[in-house]
Symmetry: C2
Subunit: 107 residues, 2 copies
């Protein structure tokens, strides 16, 4: 993987393996991607807290890895997951972080 | 939108509106997102060339915007598109930029 373009980070797109819904986008550093592979649960690097965090570690809404795909220039991953817990991925309680259209967000 | 976290850029996930396949991830600045909305075709900011580029402008494989969604903290967009031209999105000629699993890429 090429971590050089974003100061050690790559975007990680999280997609529901069953419904194909895009659930969220987070960032991983090399350690977070290794933890994701080792644990089998999506783990990100928090830019604001400067630490690794396993999504859903406290809420139970973890994201179980089904498959990890890499893009053509090795600077982005697409993680297909199974939603655990109540399946609400967004911290707002929504099913996905992408619950508004751009027009709705701007208005 | 919040462009402050990545020096003026936001990740833009491109998803086929019909098949729900994730096709690519690019970056947009405010101008690229405005151009995407104005033209109706996905337009990115090229970090290497420091300029806007409309995907498929020369190949004809443009990505026609069907819908644009925003994530919960306004720092990522999900652009649902219709593939024009031959529908091959990746510069390698593949249908999507995510055509390898991580294990295949690493080996």
């Amino acid at each position: 993987m090429d971590y050089s373009k974003l100061n050690g980070l790559i975007p990680a797109v999280i997609q529901d393996a069953a419904s194909s819904e895009v659930l969220m986008v987070g960032f991983m550093n090399e350690e977070a991607l290794a933890a994701t592979r080792r644990t089998g649960f999506a783990t990100f690097f928090s830019r604001s807290r400067n630490t690794l965090w396993m999504k859903g570690e406290s809420s139970g809404n973890r994201l179980q890895v089904v498959d990890i795909l890499v893009d053509c220039d090795d600077d982005t991953v697409l993680v297909k997951v199974k939603r655990l817990g109540d399946g609400n991925v967004c911290h707002t309680g929504e099913r996905t972080c992408f619950f508004r259209t751009l027009d709705a967000a701007a208005s």
